[in-house]
């Protein structure tokens, strides 16, 4: 019998309207680094929250070090020696490293139970030392730490609770390459100390660098668990997406007419965000904008849409200079923005599909004369729901409970209802599953065939190459290259996108 740290047997979990996990079976060996991969929405985070007791499973069995457990809270998890380090950290910025590590379980002294500050500092130093981070003073405030250092503090916190299993949810998402390397060293140190590390990621390259074993989740199901040396990139990708990835992009119709310039941006500049951005967008063209997170792409999009007034530069629509000071004016000029943060800027999640979809249209059509034309509204929303094949029981369903892909389609529908000439899509496939992704690609292609011009911003390079007619690469607030997707590889773009950083 092999030595297992953590075992899931037929674990299932549902949320209203979604089956998040369907009979998941995964075994994790003691003292290994175990990667769990899957697309967004595959159920990775749900499974890990169940592992530490933050969520309760609906059915199935979970064993920690061979013992069947039923966890009801995160503190239950701590008792069994299992900790989860979230993507968004749970540290208090105004407190010191030491105070954070002992938050909620401060050692006390004397009859008045004062906090034993010396003990906290001393023990913090010990644990930071095992992580080779003793150069950080234990009394430094967390708000003065970098993201990577905060992560280490989270790990230190887990270690000081005697956690023998540490789960990290996408720990490298916000780190630079250097920081990632350092984090990997820390993880390997942990392994040498006998700690089991579960590592959630969707960057496949990373996994080969560090993991001993890998499990793949797709649509809430466990697809496979294998030693990393017995598998390869292609097998993992196939496991994640359920088919080979080349099929996803719709064929580009290169013969179609893209003559007149619909939008032109000249020397658009906003201090500290982007500089001298100039480009033209033709009728029916799909212009991809690639770049790293923080390259200024979203900021440019928001500027064109009236949400982020630029300091200088011009925007021309159909050859005429326009001033766009609000989304209202942008809509008036036929511009729509599918925002990067769907829940924050795209949806009113407590309202239903109908109200979300028609919201931007009301002024222009459905409620032109102040009163809402309910029949017209219902028909327009019903048609759009059908056209975009939004899966929901009715238009009265709250968007909160829709899947990411269907939520995104509601936002797309909302903007299509404003009859845009120009649709800016900022990371339109983020957080949605592969099936919905390819539907979004098809929608993008169809819209462009109908003559709508599209600015397609994405960090997924394969997607930018697959969808766009032309690609701009941005780096540190500037357009550094214009490419044709033909013959361009992901590596080509990546080199351009990071070029400035290196020099």
């Amino acid at each position: 019998m092999e030595d297992l740290a953590l075992e899931f047997i037929d674990v299932s979990k549902s949320f209203p309207g979604v089956e998040a996990l369907k009979k998941v079976n995964i075994s994790i060996q003691k003292g290994t680094i175990h990667a769990i991969v899957g697309e967004n929405g595959a159920g990775k985070s749900t499974l890990m929250k169940i592992a530490v007791g933050e969520l309760k499973k609906d059915s199935g069995t979970m064993k920690i070090f061979g013992k069947e457990v039923n966890l009801n809270s995160a503190s239950d998890g701590h008792r069994y020696g299992i900790s989860l380090i979230h993507q968004e950290f749970s540290l208090v910025p105004s407190m010191s490293i030491a105070e954070n590590i002992f938050l909620g379980r401060e050692p006390t002294k004397g009859i008045l139970k004062f906090i034993d500050k010396e003990k906290i500092l001393k023990e913090t130093e010990v644990v930071m030392d095992t992580l080779k981070m003793s150069f950080l003073p234990a009394n430094r405030k967390v708000r003065d730490l970098t993201v990577a250092q905060r992560q280490i503090v989270e790990i230190a916190k887990a270690l000081s609770m005697n956690s023998r299993i540490i789960i990290m949810d996408e720990p490298t998402a916000a780190l630079t390459l250097d920081e990632t390397e350092r984090l990997f060293k820390t993880i390997i140190d942990l392994k040498e100390q006998g700690v089991t590390v579960i590592f959630i990621s969707h960057r496949i390259e990373e996994i080969f660098e560090i993991a001993d074993n890998v499990s793949v989740l797709r649509d809430g199901k466990s697809i496979m668990t294998k030693p990393i040396r017995d598998t390869n990139r292609d097998e993992i990708v196939k496991g994640m997406v359920g088919r080979s990835i080349e099929l996803v992009f719709p064929k580009r119709d290169t013969k179609r007419e893209m003559s007149s310039t619909v939008l032109e941006v000249r020397n658009l500049t906003k201090e500290r965000q982007f500089y001298e951005i100039s480009f033209k967008l033709k009728r029916g063209e799909i212009l991809g904008i690639a770049g790293l997170v923080g390259a200024g792409r979203s900021e440019v999009a928001m500027s064109i849409f009236g949400l982020n007034p630029p300091d200088a530069g011009e925007i021309l629509i159909d050859g005429k200079t326009v001033r766009i000071n609000s989304p209202f004016e942008a809509i008036k000029h036929g511009i729509a923005l599918l925002p990067e943060d769907r829940r924050e800027l795209g949806l009113i999640i407590v309202r239903d599909i109908l109200e979300n979809m028609t919201l931007s249209n009301l002024y222009w059509d459905i409620a032109k004369g102040f009163f809402i034309n309910k029949n017209k509204e219902l028909k327009a929303a019903e048609d759009m729901k059908k056209e975009l094949s939004i899966k929901a029981s009715s238009l009265k369903q709250r968007v909160e409970f829709l899947s990411g892909g269907n939520q995104q389609k509601v936002v797309v529908g909302k903007w299509l209802m404003t009859n845009p000439k120009i649709l800016i899509m900022d990371e339109p496939t983020r957080g949605i599953d592969v099936g919905a992704k390819s539907e979004i690609y098809n929608i993008v292609r169809e819209l462009s065939n109908k003559g709508i011009s599209i600015i397609f911003i994405s960090s997924e390079l394969s997607e930018v190459i697959g969808v766009s007619d032309r690609i701009l690469v941005m780096s540190e607030g500037r357009v550094v290259a214009e490419l044709s997707p033909e013959g361009t590889t992901e590596e080509d773009i990546l080199k351009l996108a990071v070029r400035k950083k290196v020099s």
Binding site: A330, L345, E355
Partner: protein
Amino acid sequence: MKNILRQYGILIGLAGLIVSFSVMSDRFFTISNMLIVARQTSIGAFLAIGMTFVILSAGIDLSVGSILAFSGAIAAGVMVKSGTFIGMVAGLGIGLGLGILNGLIVAKARIPAFIATLAMMATARGLTLVYTDGMPITGLPSAFGFLGGGYVGSIPFPIILMATVFVVSYIALKMTRFGRYVYATGGNINAAKASGINVDRIIISVYAISGFLSALTGEVLTSRLNSAQPTAGVGYELDAIAAVVLGGTNLFGGEGELWGTLVGAFIMSILNNGLNMLNVSSFYQQVVKGIVILIAVAVAQSGKR
């Protein structure tokens, strides 16, 4: 589905309250007493309806009681000199103006609604005391008495006024673009803005509505008492908020129904009326009201999960 259950829950609560008071007192469930209850409800209902707009937009208006008093005093003061109509217009105008001021402070100066309207609550109360010199204003024109004490047929006029305000507000919330925008702004102000909605205008409007309805309440009360009292409406903001919350509206905005608020307002006044009939001391009434609100909201929340 759960939403419907939650709101029928409050209707069941209202029915339960009526049945229990009817059993305990045979004077309670009579036409004349029900009309009294409805007339009493109107005072709270105007405020609660205005408050519903504000809370749906994810705001709060603590100044309704003070605006009520100040508008009532202005109406009375002007009326004594310049006649009923001008007085009424002056009072409503002041309420509307202070409401707009609230909205401007919240929307443009970005001061949290709680603080902005708390300041207005103190300021308007102070202005009332200054204007009245702390004394009631009396000697109002007799025609003005109709507003709070008149009848149309056998129905007290405030009830008709309440029905009118309710219907107009309901239409505004449910059938117009404005209503949609109120829900959207309260549900997610950033998304509303990014959808092309002028959210500042929506915020100013809801506080204006609340201010206007506070002034209307002030005038009905002044008419009913045949005098403007400088301490009128103290604590009314809490009853209004309680009615809105009892009615199932989400305090964080974006969700809620106007008829729930009306039921909530009825519950508040039935509690008053029924407990009076049972000769419960007004001290204990406060305790009972507090507990009822707590239980109702706890039940509503448990239905939500």
